[in-house]
């Protein structure tokens, strides 16, 4: 596990947790990203808020780029030990499945994985075990075909 970065992972997770807490405490809504995307596209209620949340997801990394100098020492960035796909058919298939699958099951890594498990929801726990397990099988199969090295 030479790419294992537990400290930056835990710190990042705590920051994500704080965002979910603040969002729930103030708006009464759970920050599941796939749900926010669906609502931003299809629902009139809270549309501007939903779009602003997504805009925040785009602005955050820019902010980080301007302030990372002091943080850079504490946080080692992950190296590229695995090649990522640049095949358009794979990316399009992946995108369609992620969009369709998360909304069919009612949540993604944040909605089921963090908010759901945090609420002690059994169905979210099952959903998380299924999507993590299936994703691991998918990656293992792709590695057999030499797509991920």
């Amino acid at each position: 596990m030479n790419n294992f970065t537990p400290y930056s992972a835990l710190l990042g997770g705590i920051i994500i947790g704080l965002s979910i807490v603040l969002y729930f405490y103030t708006t009464g809504r759970l920050a599941g990203i796939s749900g926010i995307v669906e609502n931003a596209i299809t629902k009139k209620a809270n549309r501007i808020s939903n779009i602003l949340f997504l805009l925040g997801l785009v602005l955050g990394p820019l902010l980080y780029c301007y302030t990372k100098e002091p943080l850079a020492i504490a946080l080692t960035l992950p190296d590229h030990s695995f090649t990522i796909t640049n095949s358009y058919p794979l990316v399009i298939t992946g995108g369609l499945l992620v969009g369709f699958g998360t909304r069919l099951s009612g949540g993604c890594t944040s909605g089921h994985g963090i908010c759901g498990i945090g609420r002690l929801s059994i169905s979210s726990l099952i959903a998380t075990v299924v999507f993590v397990g299936v994703a691991m099988i998918t990656v293992t199969i792709l590695q057999q075909f030499g797509i991920y090295l």
Binding site: G13, P78, G95, L96, L104
Partner: protein, 151 residues
């Protein structure tokens, strides 16, 4: 502070967490999913850290009826463990494994060059986001049709 300002702020904080933990980088996520080869357990610490913060907070606040901004607390109705939950999660798992991006990181990957391994507004990420939106709409329309048929 109204809910619009809060939403923007929460989106910013959320994405800082993703960037700090390296989750906008698909190769980091694939490292976690690569269970048989050079496994990287970092993603467990990201989810674990977030759950650790959210769970106790939720436990004490779940019985409230309105949020601090006076908005109704919106909790999902008790979800059944059914075909939709399992098949949806499995399809999401295949897509996640194919690309290494899930909804949150795929949006923040637009603007995290150097961290995500993508270029700024990389066409790959934009195409992924478009495909994801289409997937969401297809599900939405299918669901509405089935509900309509039932009535």
């Amino acid at each position: 502070m109204n809910d619009k300002v809060i939403s923007l702020l929460c989106g910013v904080i959320f994405s800082l967490g993703l960037v700090v933990s390296g989750m906008t980088n698909p190769s980091k996520v694939i490292g976690f999913l690569s269970i048989t080869h050079n496994w990287d357990a970092s993603l467990i610490f990201v989810m674990g850290g977030a759950i650790l913060i959210f769970a106790p907070f939720f436990y004490f606040l779940k019985s409230r009826e309105v949020s601090t901004l006076g908005m109704e607390i919106e909790l999902p109705s008790k979800q059944e463990i059914d075909k939709k939950l399992v098949i949806g999660s499995a399809l999401f798992g295949v897509g996640w494994g194919l690309v290494g991006l899930c909804p949150g990181p795929s949006i923040s990957a637009l603007t995290s060059p150097g961290i995500s391994g993508f270029a700024m507004f990389d066409p790959i990420v934009i195409i992924f986001l478009f495909s994801m939106a289409i997937g969401i709409l297809v599900n939405k329309n299918l669901l509405q049709k089935t509900i309509h048929n039932k009535n």
